[in-house]
Every structure is written in structure tokens, then in C-alpha cells.
Symmetry: C2
Subunit: 712 residues, 2 copies
């Protein structure tokens, strides 16, 4: 995987095409920052007339530069870019950063200009950052050509599709003292390099500990997922996805030409790939900080330590609303706490010291250590006033708070379990909290944000374990029978499989399908009764020309006995003919009525960005009105499939309500896995729908199946 | 309403019972703060032995104080409080603040101690704040005896059930420069005065512009709602309710009860009463600030002005996720914007200046004015870098930003429409943003929080209008027939009405009920066929001793014709007798099968805190698994009832899905109003359930009704 690294992001030589003497121009600022930071390589300003910029010799053309150029920053307008790119290509430049806007985000003309430069890049083997990018930096290489001042080197790698968001991230990091950056890339329009490439790079970059992404739209979504699944096994990756509503999508399109699909789908499959999804833009840095400083949580068992009932209550609410568990602490732990806290203290979780720290905030560190040494506790969250005791109670408590902060940091390291602190005094930036931050304990102003970070640590701990131990299953090869079936459909010039063909294909992939018969004659009807029993049976028209079977009178249910079958058969055929003259009628599909069960839907679409995605949900109004469904990109791991069942809001129904037995989860998981395999083996399938599937206490019945092939 | 004011919160004389010379004690701090602030009234330290505190003469007993005492601060331990209260009573003191803990929050003994002081208070006419309170202040009266330093006078009134939360609020307000307070009350255990009393006081207090409440639990919830409904017609009130995951799950006897008592219920009825509910604790002050500084929004039509695509996109997402509308701006507005912005600017909403402010941030004010003058725009949200141009672009832009801030403030006043600004530079506190705050424009760091405040302004604008023009309907008197019906049930020693009695009661309140017959004999069966037609009919056992009718074989459906009726009747009676020996059987209720329709549930519970609450939802799994229901306290206004239908997540089903016609909303609203009336007129009804009601395209059918009376 070492080839994923983008070597031009650690350049030894940089050309600035369109160097400038105007301090407000990027062609000036880039050179200035490189000089200020002490960039150790060579800088080559390119300008047709000028001979020098900020004391550095300029060249009139790229060709005239006397050595190889690793990286070129192009500061000139859009129309000049194709010509410059060719010059760069002739010179063998590896990477080009194109700042200019005026490409695909502006419409037709811009789109074709963007296609042109992408083509040139391919032809000459140049990698493009942008166009319409804010630039890049690699602070560990002292290479900052984004013109962002006051950033320090550290472990966060930033990939952002918005310059403003990059500034937001930088400002917030600076407020959280000590958070620094490795590499920044403004992705812009992704004419060539995209999120997948930058993430692969950061996965390999030893200076980047946590990649942080602001995404308006992916271009190679499928590739991105593959990369993310690998990278997140070793490093947490935090992502915020905007363009989640129609209004946001319209805004994103006019900003970077980005296209986005359903937000819920995107969140599900990003999580599946192991990414940590920030639901609000302001969670991006706090989550990244938590994942940078702390180990992932071993489980969702949390202890809260508070010095006030209000904060304890709010923390308990927030934790349980996020599905986290206020764990029962051990009797021995309670006893130890009782030994150092006043009798009014609450010793069950959340622990409230009830004034027990007022005279000596050092008691916090004692309590923290006692709680972290409890084997039931995997995360400790401290909420309340810490850091403000000096201000609130007495000047003399200041040094004790500072010392306590150091002790907390030491305890964090010793126990190796995540510890976070919320203090209402955070915005006042008291010394004790600055010390605490420096020891590696994240400090929050808001309880909600602290809890979001706890949830992020729990989630990453879980997904990392899941994805390390549950690789997605690799598909079977396409069996010959399946190939023949698809070919027959193609030969017949159909893109939709007839229902019995779809059922047949499912059977080839070992999916249990109830017996059925396609009746084309009286004889078939007789055989149906013999084979399927006397009822109740269902009959459905089989015709490539009739899409809406019910509308065409093509569905009859609960038929019992030979006579009912006969008359239904003739009615169906006649009604179909009347409904659509000349309709090609293959016959009538006869199958036993399904046993009742929980109505499920399993569908597959090919998302234009992410490729094949499987959807699972409850049928009927649940899916139609509540949109209560879960998504996973294909291929799935078994853990993914299991996760789909647990994730839907109405999952209680799967466990059995109103006296119904629980459904056969294992069978449904197996079904999902087989559908994942089938779709993997058949890239020509563009849509698949099992709707409904009736899930029973044992097994399931596929009641209707629809499979559509893509255009050849 | 003037009597609602608590005059002791503007005291002319204060006694400090348990005065102290120890600076860490409240009996010291209170006197010190009063002196520091220049409290103009008299202070009377009370101490058995000492004669002077901080230069003020002390008295050994309350009785020996030479003038009336308006307010007493009791700093002594819990056990001493009853004795002191009596002394205060003899002296004619109006209000007592009891700091000590050790009352109802600690268990049995504390509970009875609390009851004792409450009794003394009633006997002597003293009002109690607390016990277990952090204290009170009234900054406009220079009376701060909560010991909270560094608070300034202003328009926010704080009522908090947590000292930590009060500190949080004070700290956050100080960070938002210029936000000050009127009165603070730590409510503590509410032995006497509670949230309802403090809110009523603040409603009348001219110094309080926006009351802000942190609530763990209401005591007189019904009273509180009544007060809130009045106060919020004139002043916005912001509330955060904690303890929401544990709330009210007990005492849920019936199906409806199980879903009630929840946080969701509380939020619904607080909103109904006109309160602004903060969903997260950190939203409390931002919402209060917005409502303090800005007028309520006329509608949900929002314009966004951005200087970067990323922020524009995120703002668009957040706004539409909150149900707010990025309004179409007028052609004339676009033209005006085009005249001052570069061609790359996005002139549709969100407006992105695309660099058009880089050289002159003053253009922001021009754009803001253009947007606010558009009649389609009711709120303006500015997002991005404003305030950071000096830092980001050039020192020389600083004065321009400062001047622009002043202009924005002036524009805000001139147009009288809410304007809010988000800047990523907020945490750096640049001068321009401080100036902007001082002009009355709220400034936010986070887009999400800014949008939450926009939503709060829209919501308050809406609820204020709604509650001003739609008073809840006042109940009819109890008709004689209804009284007789209830009496008959009582006389029969039953708390549950038989089903036909429940239907009869509904009919008395003018609720349309399908014809039915209670058959007690063969002759009744014959009459049923004549009256109800030949079917299909439904039959249900009527017996006070059989609760689970289906289990007892007591329900038969879809019966057609006399024979079917006869045999079903005998089966039901026999099965019932076999099911429960000696069961008193009243007969069998016969009614036509209901036309199919959308299955609804309407229920009423008497919440122990809030009194009668009506619940509306879709029947079946929607209510059971998704808990997709809405709540309103009884009595409802018609607007409340309409709101219930629109609020449920599955409300699309009411509009007709899968080809079904929309339901008759007006009829269901009417039904809800009549149930509200009925329950108001019958305070003895403890539970009521219409489950299911089938809603049709025209009208509805009540399929099952259950009414329970309280214990007499």
C-alpha cells in the first residue's frame, strides 16, 4: 500500500506559477509563508517578466527551471491552466495545485475545461489537487502553501472541500491548545485526486494520526469506502458530510459541483466502513481530539463523576439517550469512595461528591482513580466545576487544582481507559484546565459535546474491532446456471427478469424459495394441485409487458381447490389480454399463500457514487412513511448484516410484539448475506427487490422478487 | 395578576439568621455581597452571642430586631429550621430562604421535616424559597444573597433547580458580553414556592424580560402550565427539562399510560403552553439571548448570507433539517445584489458573496440591508468569517469591520426583523464581534447553535400568535344524563364503565357513535337484525368481570345473517361463563363492522404532575413500537388539536398513502375537542381510551371505548 502516498506533498522543489508582488495574492503569500517557515527545499517563482520575488530568483517559464520540480502551485486564472499543465507535463512535474475557480462548479463551459485538464493530467501523469482548491500544507515538511497562518504541527490530517471549514477547524484547534496538524488538502472539485486518494495517503503518512474530512460530495465513493475500511483498522477517521438535505445539496452543487445521495444511506455506509461520522459540523474537532488523545473505549460502560446534581442529571440523560450505559460500580469501589466522600455523597453512578471536593479539589483525582480501577468501568466522564474552584471558592485552591490536573493526566496514562472532563469554567480558560489539556485529557465546555465524544470513542472501539475481525465476504463465482439465466433474459431483449426467473436465480444462490409452478395450460393447473396441495394458493400473471399486476387483474389470492384455480386462471389470462392488447403472456405463477409473518423488505440499488448498496427494513407503512430502513454497501460482513436488523427504529417488532414470536434472525441474516453474494457475482444487476419477505419464527418466505439488469 | 409578585424579592430589610465571621460561610458571604453592592435597605445579622458582623449591629433573636423584616436568609442546619420559622412567623416575616439540605431529598425523616416547615409556613403566612436552595438575587434591587460574584443587572430572570446550572448560565452569559440578570431563584425542594410561583412573579416583574428555567421536576405542573400560557403571551420563557430518561414511567396502568409521563409528553405540553424548550442544556442561554435581543420571527422564511460555500451549505442543511425555509428571494433583490457582488457570487438563497467582501467587508452590511428589505425574508442569518477579516486578510480591514458591525446593528433596528451572525472567529473575540454584540445582534461560534436560535425565534413567533388568538375551549357543564350515567356506575361499585356506557357518554357529548344494540335475549337479537341490517356485524361480550374479551372468546367479527348471530350469541355467553365462573354478564354488544380506515388512538391519562393529558397517534405498531404520538394538556384549543395531527412523524398517512384518500381531519379535530370537553367536565375520569378509532375519508368510527373513573 506504500504506493498510496502522494510524494509531491513532501516536495523538495516547488514552482509557484503566477508569482506575485501583491501581498493580498496567493502567488505572494505562498512564497512568504514558505520562507517564514524555513522550507528547506528550493522555490521557483515563475513569471513571464519579473526576475525576482522576495529575494528569490524567478524564471520566465517552467521549462527554464534548472532542476526537477516536485510540486507546482498554479495561481493563474482558469483559462490559462490547460497550457500551464502541458508545460508542467513536459517538465515531468508530479503534482499540481490549481487554485482557480471557474470549472465544473459553474456549469457547462467549466465542466469541459475541467475535463480537459483532467485529460492532460492523465496523459502526462501529473496528479491534480483541485481545481477550485484552497491549497495544501504539510507542516512537518514546513510546506504551507495554503496561506493559513498560526497553525502548528501535530497529528490531525485535514481534507476539506471548503476553505471556510478549514479555517474553522484551525481556529477551533488553536482554542483547544496543543492540537496541531500534519497535512491539509483543500480537495476542491476533485478533477483528478479525490477523497479516496487523500485518505489513502494519510493512512500511510506516519505524521497523520487522525484524518479529519469535511465532505460535500464524494466522486469515487466505492473506492473511498474500500480505502476507509483499511485505514480505520489502524487510525480513526472523522468525517462530516454536508449536502444532507435538498437545500444543502443545491448549495453544495453551486459551491464545488458536488453530488450527494441520501444522507441516511451515506451515514450508514460510512459507519460500515469504520469512519466516525460527526452529525454536526461543530463536533468534527472535538471528536478528532478525543480520538487523537485517547484510546478507543473497550465497551459502552461509563462512569460519571460530578460535583453537583444538575450536571450529574444532565450527563446521565445525555449518556442514556446516546445508548451508553451508566454501569453499576462494584461494592468495593463504593466503599473506597465512601471512605473519602461526605455522607451526603451519592455513591451510585453518577457519583456526586456533594461538596466533598469544595475544600480540596484533589479529591477528584482520588475518586477518578478509584472509579478507573473498577473493572466494570471502561470510560470516565468528569462533569461540573473543576478548574473553577479557585474562582468559585478560594484563591488558595488554585495550586491544588493545578496539581490535581497533573495527577489526572498521570492517572489517564496509568489506566489506559478514556477519561474526559467537562467544566462550566472552560470558556474562562483557567490554568488548571490548560494543564489538564496538556496532559492529554480532553476538556469540554458542554456536557452534550463531552458525551458525543464518549459515544465516538465507544463507537470507534466497536467498529474497529468489528472490521478487523469481520472482513466482508467475497462472492462466489457466477454458477453456470445463473449465467445462462441472465443470458436468456438478455437474448430475449429484456432488462427485467420475469418473476419466476428471479426466484430461480435466488434458488441458484441457495436461497430457500417456496415451491411454485408456472402454469401455461390446463395440465399445468392439474399438476399445480398435485404439487402444491389444494390451497390456499396465490396466482400471479407472468408477463414482461405487464408491470402493475394488480391493476391488470393479474393477482388472485387465497384460492382453494381445482375449480377456484381453473376459473382464476382464465380470469387472469382474459383480464390481462383486455388490459393490454398484444401483451406477451408467459403464463401464471402459482404458489402457496405465505404463512403470515413480519413483513420485511430487502432491496439493492446501484448508487451512482457508492455502487451496490443493500437496504433492509420493515415492509408496509414503516418503510413508506417512516423510512425506517438501514443501508450497507455490498459486500457485507456477517456483522454488517446483523447490524442492519438491530439498527432500525422498529427493531422491537423483530423480537415479537403483541404475542408474536421473535423472527428467525439468523435466517434473515443469512438471506442478506446471500443477496450480497449474488449481487457481487452479478455486476450486471442494477436493481433487486424482495418485497415483501415474510419472516417467520422459523425461516422466511420470499413473496415477491424483482430483478433488473443494467443496459448492456 | 399583580398579586403574583413576590414582594419579599425586593426587600427593604433582610435578616441573616446564622450570620458568620468565616468568609467561606454563606452567613458571611451574603452580608459581604450586600455591602459590596450597596444594598440600600437594612441588614440584620442574627446570632445568639455576637454583637456585630462586618460593622453591622447583630441581634440575638429575630424578635429583638427593631423593625419589620421582609426577608430572612436562614443559614443554619436543617434541624434548627422549624424553630426559626416559628420565630420568623411571630415577627411577621414575609419570605424565608432556607439554604440547608437534609430535607425531602434525603428520605423519610427529611420528608417529614420538610412537611413540618411547610405547615409552619402556611400557618404563619411565610413564603419559603427552598429548602436545599442555592439562594436568590435581585440585581436591580442590589440584593444578591446567593454569593455569586461577577453578575451584572439585565433582563434575564433565572429559576434553577441546580446551583451548578446557575453558575453555568452566569459564566456563559458573561462570555456573551452584556447579558445581565434581573432575579435569580434557586428553587431547591419547592416545599412551598415552586416553578409556577416564580414564573408568575417574573411575568409581572418589569425588570425580567426573559425568564430562563432549569427544571428537574415540577411539583404543581398544572398550575405551572396555566401561568406559562399567560406569561408567554407577553414574554418569551426558555426552559430546559432534565431527568428525561427516568421521567414518569411509573404508574402507567393502561396501554396509553405506558407511553405517557415521558419526556416527549413534557416537551409537547410545555410547547403547548407557549414555552421555548431547549433540547440541550447548552442551548439555554443562546436561546434566551436571541429571544431577549430580537423580535420573534414573523414566519419561517429565512435568508442566509455567506462568504464561503462550505458554511452556506451547512447552514442550508441545518435550516431545512429544522423545518425552516430558505425562501426564494425576489428578482429585484437579486439584481441589487448583482450590482455589488462579483459575477461568481451565488445570488440565490443562500447568498454566497464569493470573495465580494474580501477587500471590503462593508459589503456585508449592504447585502444585509438588501436582503432584509426583501418582503419575502423574515429572518437573516449571516455565516462565515465576519470579524476575522482583519486577521485573515489585512490589518487595514479592522476599522471597516468595526464600522460594518455598527451599521449591521443599525440595520437590525431599522428593519425590525431578526438578524443573527455566526463567525468562525467568535472564540477569538475580535473587536468587530464585540461591537456587533453591543448593537444587539447575537453572535455565534457554531452554525448549528445559530440555526437553533433562528428556530426558537420562529417557534416563539408562532406559539405566541397561536396562544394569543386561540384560547383553550372552556368545557360545557356536565349534562344531567352524563351525571346519571356516572352515578349509576358508582352505585354499582364499578370504576370501569361498561363499553356501552362509555359509548353512551360519548354520545351525550355529541360524539357520533355508530348504532349498536346490547342484546340480552333472543328478542334483542331479532331487533338487532332489524336495526343494524344483516351484516357484517361484530359482537362483543359486555361484562364487568371480563377484562380480556378476546381471551374469553367474547369477540366475534364479520357475522352476517340471523343464524350466524344466534349461534355467535350463544357461543359468547357460554364461553364467558366457562372462562370465568360466576362472571356477571350484562349481555352482548352488537354493532356493524366498521368501514376500514386509518387506525387511530386517542387516549387520556391523568398525569400525576400535569393533570389530564390527551394523547393522539396512529394505532397498531406505530404507537406500540415507534411511540409516534403527540400530547396536549387538557383543555385544548382548536389550534392545539390541529397541531397534534400534524406533529406525528407518520402524519403523511393521514394524507392518504398507497392510493388511500386523506382522512377527514376536521372530524378528528372535532373529536379531540369533544374529548377535551368531556374530560374537563368529568374530573372523576382518570383514564379514557378510544382504541382504535377508524378515520375515514368522511367521518370516523369509534370501534372501542374504555373509560375508567377514579376512586371516589
Amino acid at each position: 500500500m506504500n504506493s498510496s502516498r502522494l510524494s509531491f506533498l513532501s516536495p523538495e522543489t516547488i514552482a509557484v506559477v503566477g508569482a506575485s508582488k501583491d501581498p493580498t495574492k496567493r502567488g505572494y503569500q505562498a512564497i512568504r509563508q514558505l520562507l517564514l517557515d524555513g522550507f528547506s527545499g528550493n522555490i521557483y517563482p515563475i513569471h513571464p517578466r519579473e526576475t525576482e520575488f522576495q529575494g528569490i530568483r524567478a524564471y520566465s517559464t517552467v521549462a527554464s527551471v534548472p532542476e526537477n520540480i516536485d510540486l507546482a502551485l498554479i495561481c493563474t486564472p482558469a483559462v490559462t491552466v490547460p497550457g500551464i499543465m502541458k508545460e508542467l507535463g513536459d517538465k515531468g512535474v508530479k503534482g499540481a495545485i490549481i487554485l482557480a475557480g471557474g470549472f465544473s462548479e459553474t456549469g457547462e463551459a467549466g465542466l469541459s475545461l475541467e475535463a480537459e485538464i483532467a485529460e492532460i493530467a492523465t496523459e502526462y501523469g501529473i496528479r491534480i489537487v483541485g481545481p477550485n482548491t484552497s491549497g495544501v500544507f504539510n507542516l512537518h515538511a514546513r510546506m504551507n502553501i495554503v496561506g493559513m497562518p498560526n497553525v502548528q504541527a501535530g497529528g490531525l490530517g485535514i481534507v476539506s472541500q471548503s476553505g471556510n471549514m478549514a479555517l474553522t477547524i484551525a481556529t477551533e484547534a488553536s482554542m483547544r491548545g496543543g492540537l496541531g496538524f500534519s497535512t491539509y488538502v483543500g480537495v476542491g472539485n476533485q478533477a483528478d485526486l479525490g477523497f479516496n486518494d487523500y485518505l489513502a495517503h494519510m493512512g500511510q503518512d506516519p505524521d497523520t494520526k487522525v484524518p479529519v474530512l469535511y465532505v460535500e460530495g464524494f466522486k469515487k465513493g466505492r473506492k473511498f469506502l474500500d480505502v476507509a475500511r483499511e485505514v480505520t483498522k489502524e487510525k480513526p477517521v472523522v468525517v462530516y458530510k454536508s449536502g444532507r438535505t435538498l437545500a444543502g445539496q443545491a448549495a453544495a452543487k453551486s459551491h464545488t459541483g458536488a453530488l450527494s445521495g441520501s444522507y441516511d444511506m451515506t451515514v450508514d455506509i460510512l459507519d460500515q466502513a469504520g469512519l466516525t461520522v460527526a452529525r454536526q459540523s461543530n463536533e468534527l474537532i472535538p471528536l478528532a481530539e478525543a480520538l487523537l488523545l485517547l484510546p478507543p473505549a473497550k465497551s459502552n460502560r461509563i462512569a460519571v463523576l460530578a460535583d453537583g446534581g444538575g450536571h450529574a442529571t444532565i450527563a446521565a440523560d445525555c449518556l442514556s439517550e446516546q445508548g451508553l450505559k451508566l454501569v453499576d460500580i462494584e461494592e468495593a469501589t463504593r466503599k473506597k469512595l465512601a471512605g473519602i466522600l461526605p455522607s451526603a455523597a451519592s455513591l451510585s453512578n453518577p457519583v456526586d461528591v456533594a461538596g466533598g471536593t469544595d475544600a480540596n479539589p484533589g479529591v477528584f483525582a482520588d475518586c477518578a482513580e478509584i472509579l478507573l480501577s473498577d473493572p466494570n468501568v471502561d470510560v470516565l466522564l468528569i462533569v461540573g466545576l473543576f478548574g473553577g474552584y479557585k474562582l468559585r471558592f478560594a484563591e488558595s485552591l488554585g495550586p491544588i487544582e493545578n496539581e490535581t490536573a497533573l495527577r489526572l493526566g498521570e492517572i489517564l496514562k496509568r489506566y489506559g481507559k478514556p477519561m474526559l472532563l467537562q467544566s462550566l469554567y472552560t470558556p474562562l480558560r483557567p490554568e488548571a484546565l490548560e494543564i489538564l489539556r496538556n496532559t492529554g485529557v480532553p476538556v469540554h465546555e458542554s456536557i452534550e459535546m463531552a458525551v458525543t465524544c464518549v459515544a465516538g470513542l465507544v463507537q470507534y472501539g466497536y467498529t474497529q474491532k468489528r472490521n478487523r475481525s469481520h472482513p466482508p465476504t467475497i462472492a462466489n463465482e457466477q454458477p453456470e446456471a445463473a449465467r445462462d439465466l441472465v443470458k436468456a433474459c438478455r437474448d430475449d431483449n429484456r432488462s427485467a427478469l420475469l418473476e419466476f426467473e428471479a426466484l430461480e436465480l435466488l434458488k441458484i444462490y441457495d436461497i430457500p424459495i417456496a415451491d411454485y409452478i408456472v402454469a401455461r395450460s390446463q395440465g399445468d393447473l392439474n399438476r399445480a394441485v398435485v404439487k402444491l396441495g389444494s390451497g390456499p394458493l396465490a396466482m400471479k400473471i407472468v408477463s414482461q409487458d405487464i408491470l402493475h399486476k394488480t391493476e391488470a387483474g393479474g393477482v388472485k389470492l387465497k384460492l382453494s381447490g381445482r375449480d377456484a384455480l381453473n376459473s382464476a386462471y382464465h380470469d387472469i389470462i382474459n383480464d390481462a389480454k383486455a388490459y393490454k392488447t398484444g401483451a406477451r403472456i408467459e403464463g401464471v405463477l402459482i404458489a402457496p399463500m405465505a404463512k403470515s409473518g413480519v413483513e420485511l423488505i430487502i432491496g439493492v440499488i446501484r448508487d451512482p457514487i457508492f455502487g451496490p448498496v443493500l437496504m433492509f427494513g420493515l415492509g408496509g407503512t414503516m418503510v413508506e412513511v417512516m423510512k425506517d430502513v438501514s443501508f450497507r454497501a455490498i459486500p457485507l460482513s456477517r456483522a454488517d448484516a446483523e447490524g442492519m436488523l438491530g439498527q432500525i427504529k422498529s427493531s422491537k417488532i423483530l423480537e415479537g410484539v403483541r404475542g408474536a414470536p421473535p423472527i428467525d434472525r439468523a435466517a434473515i441474516v443469512e438471506l442478506i448475506m446471500k443477496i450480497s453474494n449474488l449481487v457481487q457475482a452479478h455486476p450486471e444487476i442494477s436493481e433487486l427487490d424482495l418485497n415483501p419477505v415474510f419472516a417467520h419464527a422459523v425461516g422466511f418466505t420470499v413473496v415477491d422478487a424483482r430483478i433488473i439488469l443494467d443496459d448492456e
